[in-house]
C-alpha cells in the first residue's frame, strides 16, 4: 500500500539523445534489410563476435547480431510466441537458448521484425556468417542458421572463431600464446572473407573499425562509471536501450559518436544532479539479461524508490574495464595510438577483447563475484537482483555461486527465475510478489501506486 513517507525528490528530465538512440537502432535493422538494394553485403553473427574484422570488406557491409535481434523479438510477445511455436514445431526443445530460438523462429517463419514492431515478409538471409564460440549455444547457433538457410535454397558460408582462452590476469600482461591463437584465426578469417565475398580486403578500414570499437567500448564504460553518482543519472531500463548500440555496431563511427554525445550528456546530468528516478532512495543492480517482455518490473521497483543503476551485464558486455591495484574498477584506458597495420589491428583488438568482463562469466565464477562486489561498493548499491535466467545457460552458469559470494560479503540478494526471451518461463505476478517481500524485508515501503 502507499504510505505518507516523505522522500526527497530529485529533479529529473528525459535524455536529450534518446531520439538519436532510437534512430540509430532503427536504421541498423533497416540497413541490414536493404543492404542488397544498395549493392552492399549482409552478414550475421553474435554480438560477441569480432565485428571490426568484416568492416575491412567495405563501408557498405551491414550485419545483424543475433542476441539483440532475439531480444527485439522477445519484446514483441505475439511475434515471439509465433517464433517459439515455429521452432518447437521444427523439433527444437524449449530448453535451448531463448535468443537462438527466437532467431531461428524468425527464419522458419520467413519474417523479419523491425524495432517498431513492424513484421516484414521474407527474412533477409546473410551473405556470410561471422561468429565466435563464446558459449555452447553460440557454437551451434549459426550452424543451424546455415542449415536452415540451405533448406531455403541459400548456401551461406560460415566462419567461427574459437575464443576459449580464459580471462587474463588482473594486472599482468595477456599471455602471448592466447593472443596468437585468436589472432591466427582472425588472420585466416580475413583471407576467408575476401575469398567468399570476392572483395579486396582493406586494412585501413580494419584499423579504423578496430579503433572505433576500442573507443566505443571504453566510452560506454565511462558512461556507466558516471552512474556511481547519487542520484543516478541513468536507470538500467534506459541503459538497455543505450548499451545495445555496442552490441549492434561497436566498430562503427556512429557508435563512437553516439557514446561521446551520451557521455557528455550524462556528465552534464551528474553536474546538475538530474536523476533518472526522482524518488531514488534504494539502489540495486541486476545480473544477466532481463526478461525483455517484462521490463515494466523496473517501473514497479520505482514505486518503492528503488532504481537499478546497472549490472555487470549492462556495464561489461560492451564496456571495457580495468582493475586498479586498490580493487576499484575504472573504464579501460584506450591504448596510446591507433593501429596502423593489419597485424597491429588484430593484436590490439584481441588484447582489448580478452578483458571483456562478460568473458569472466564463462571461466571464473569467483572473478565474476569479485566484479559484482566492486560494482556494489563503487556504485553504492544496496542490493543485488539475480536473474536465474532459464533462457541463457551461458550467462546463468555459476550464478548461484555468485549469490553465495555476495551473501558472504554481506550483500543482500534477491534471486528470481525467468527467461530473457521466452515469456512462458517468467511469472510476472509471482516475481512481483516476491520482490515486494524483498523490498519490505529491506525496510522499504511503497511510495506510490
Amino acid at each position: 500500500m502507499t504510505t505518507s513517507v516523505e522522500v526527497k525528490e530529485y529533479p529529473s528530465e528525459p535524455l536529450k539523445c534518446w531520439e538519436q538512440a532510437k534512430n540509430l537502432r532503427k536504421n541498423y535493422y533497416e540497413d541490414y534489410l536493404h543492404a542488397h538494394e544498395k549493392g552492399g553485403l549482409r552478414w550475421a553473427g553474435g554480438a560477441w563476435s569480432f565485428s571490426s574484422i568484416p568492416a575491412g570488406l567495405g563501408e557498405d557491409v551491414y550485419c545483424i547480431t543475433g542476441e539483440p535481434y532475439g531480444a527485439t523479438v522477445a519484446f514483441y510477445k505475439d511475434f515471439a510466441s509465433k517464433c517459439h511455436d515455429a521452432t518447437e514445431a521444427a523439433g527444437f526443445p524449449r530448453t535451448l537458448c531463448a535468443y537462438m530460438r527466437n532467431y531461428w523462429g524468425s527464419i522458419l517463419l520467413d519474417k523479419y521484425i523491425l524495432t517498431d514492431g513492424t513484421v516484414v515478409d521474407g527474412y533477409p538471409p546473410p551473405d556470410f556468417i561471422w561468429q565466435d564460440h563464446i558459449c555452447c549455444s553460440h557454437s551451434k547457433w549459426y550452424q543451424l542458421v546455415k542449415w536452415l538457410e540451405k533448406r531455403r535454397g541459400k548456401e551461406v558460408p560460415m566462419y567461427s572463431v574459437d575464443v576459449s582462452v580464459g580471462y587474463p590476469p588482473d594486472f599482468g600482461p595477456e599471455e602471448d600464446y592466447k593472443v596468437d591463437y585468436i589472432v591466427g584465426q582472425l588472420s585466416d578469417g580475413i583471407d576467408w572473407l575476401a575469398k567468399v565475398t570476392g572483395r579486396n580486403y582493406n586494412d585501413a578500414l580494419l584499423c579504423e573499425a578496430v579503433w572505433n570499437e576500442i573507443r566505443a567500448t571504453s566510452l560506454w564504460a565511462e558512461v556507466c562509471a558516471l552512474n556511481q553518482a547519487v542520484p543516478a543519472p541513468l536507470d538500467e531500463k534506459t541503459m538497455y536501450s543505450l548499451y545495445v548500440m555496442g552490441t549492434l555496431m561497436k566498430h562503427r563511427p556512429e557508435c563512437v559518436a553516439f557514446y561521446e554525445t551520451l557521455r557528455n550528456e550524462t556528465q552534464e546530468r551528474v553536474k546538475r544532479g538530474i536523476a533518472a528516478v526522482p524518488n531514488e532512495r534504494f539502489r540495486v543492480i541486476t545480473d544477466t539479461q532481463p526478461p525483455w517482455g517484462f521490463l515494466k518490473i523496473f517501473r514497479e521497483m520505482e514505486k518503492y524508490g528503488a532504481v537499478s543503476v546497472g549490472s555487470l551485464y549492462t556495464f561489461g558486455l560492451i564496456g571495457m574495464w580495468q582493475y586498479q591495484p586498490d580493487g576499484t574498477w575504472i573504464p579501460r584506458p584506450v591504448p596510446p595510438q591507433k593501429p596502423q597495420t593489419r597485424e597491429e589491428a588484430l593484436r590490439a583488438i584481441v588484447r582489448w577483447t580478452m578483458h571483456k568482463p562478460e568473458w569472466a562469466h564463462f571461466y571464473e565464477p569467483e572473478l565474476k563475484t569479485k566484479m559484482m562486489q566492486s560494482i556494489v561498493k563503487q556504485w553504492k548499491v544496496d542490493a543485488v537482483l539475480l536473474h536465474y535466467n532459464r533462457g541463457c545457460e551461458g550467462l546463468s552458469v555459476h550464478i548461484a555461486e555468485n549469490r553465495f559470494g555476495l551473501l558472504q560479503a554481506g550483500v543482500s540478494v534477491f534471486p528470481f527465475e525467468g527467461n530473457m526471451g521466452d515469456e512462458r518461463d517468467f511469472d510476472f505476478a509471482g516475481t512481483l510478489a516476491r520482490l515486494t517481500a524483498f523490498f519490505e524485508s529491506m525496510g522499504l515501503r511503497k511510495l506510490k501506486e
Binding site: T3, V413, P415, G430, A437, E440, S441
Partner: protein
C-alpha cells in the same frame, strides 16, 4: 495497545487480535470466492470472541496473498499490508524468540525465512508449483480416497521409502495413481507424498541455509506426517508452535503494534 493481524491466505483467512502483546482472540474461515466478505465475517467473529469493538483496535495490518483486498476496506480497514515473509519473521519471533529459520508451508506456497530479531535476513519462496504445499496433500488425499486430515497419521504408519519424482502437482497425481494401480498400500503412498513435499521444501530451504532454532508454521504444520520427513531431510529438530497456522496473522498484529519499526 490493541492491534489486529489479518492473514488473507490462499485457502483460509486467519485473524489474530493482540492486546498488549498477548493474543486475546483468533479465528479462521475459508476464503471463498468473495474474499472481502469472508475476511470481514471472520474479522467480526474474532472481535466478538475478544469482546472488543472495532473502534478499540488501534491498527490493523494485513498479510497473505489477498492482503490488498482488505486494505482501507470496511469493516476491516487495514491500515497497511505487508508481505507474508515479513509477517512470518515477526510472528515466528513472537511465538519462538530463539527462532533463526522459519519454514512456512501453506496451501499454495512454501517459504523459508532467515530471521534475526524478528527481521528478515534472507528468504526463499517456491517459484512454480503447489507440489510443495498443502494443496498437493489435498489433491493426493482425493486420489487415495481418504480425508485430508487422515493423510498425516496414515503416512506415519509406513516405514517404506517409495520415491516420487514428479515436480509438478498434476504429474505427481498421475504418479500416485500409478502407485495405486501397482497395489502399493495407502500408508506407503501417503508417506511417499509427505516425503516428496518434505524433499521439495527442504531443497528450497537449503538455498537460504538452516540455522537453529527452526520453526515450522502454516497450515501444513498441523499435519503430523509432514514434520518427521522434513526433520530427516534437514537433519535438524523442528519446533511447531501452538496454532502454527496463525503465526503470519500474529506477525501482522505485532507489526501493527510497532508502526515505526
Amino acid at each position: 495497545m490493541i492491534t489486529a493481524g489479518v492473514d488473507v491466505g490462499a485457502k483460509f483467512t486467519k485473524v489474530v487480535i493482540l492486546k498488549d502483546g498477548q493474543v486475546v482472540a483468533r479465528a479462521k474461515a475459508l476464503v471463498g470466492f468473495d474474499v472481502l466478505k469472508s475476511a470481514s465475517e471472520v474479522f467480526e467473529v474474532t472481535l466478538k470472541d475478544a469482546g472488543i469493538p472495532r473502534s478499540d483496535i488501534q491498527r490493523v495490518v494485513a498479510t497473505g496473498m489477498g492482503r490488498n483486498t482488505v486494505v482501507q476496506k470496511p469493516p476491516i480497514n487495514a491500515e497497511e499490508a505487508v508481505s507474508e515473509v515479513v509477517a512470518d519473521a515477526a510472528g515466528a519471533y513472537q511465538a519462538v524468540p530463539t527462532v533463526k529459520t522459519v519454514i512456512d508451508v501453506g496451501a499454495e506456497e512454501g517459504r523459508g525465512v532467515k530471521v534475526e530479531g524478528g527481521k528478515v535476513r534472507d528468504f526463499v519462496i517456491n517459484e512454480r508449483c503447489a507440489a510443495g504445499a498443502g494443496t498437493f496433500v489435498e489433491a493426493m488425499a482425493r486420489a487415495l480416497e481418504v480425508k485430508v486430515e487422515e493423510m498425516g497419521p496414515l503416512s506415519l504408519k509406513s516405514a517404506n521409502v517409495i520415491p516420487m519424482n514428479a515436480q509438478c502437482c498434476v504429474f505427481a497425481e498421475s504418479e500416485v495413481v500409478s502407485l495405486i494401480h501397482s497395489k502399493i498400500s495407502k500408508e506407503d503412498v501417503a508417506k511417499a507424498i509427505h516425503d516428496a513435499i518434505a524433499g521439495r521444501i527442504s531443497s528450497m530451504i537449503l538455498r537460504v541455509g538452516v540455522e537453529k532454532d527452526v520453526v515450522l508454521i502454516g497450515g501444513c504444520a498441523l499435519n503430523p506426517g509432514f514434520k518427521p520427513p522434513l526433520e530427516k531431510e534437514l537433519h535438524t529438530n523442528i519446533i511447531v508452535p501452538e496454532f502454527p497456522e496463525y503465526v503470519s496473522a500474529l506477525g501482522a498484529a505485532v507489526i501493527a503494534a510497532n508502526p515505526a519499526r
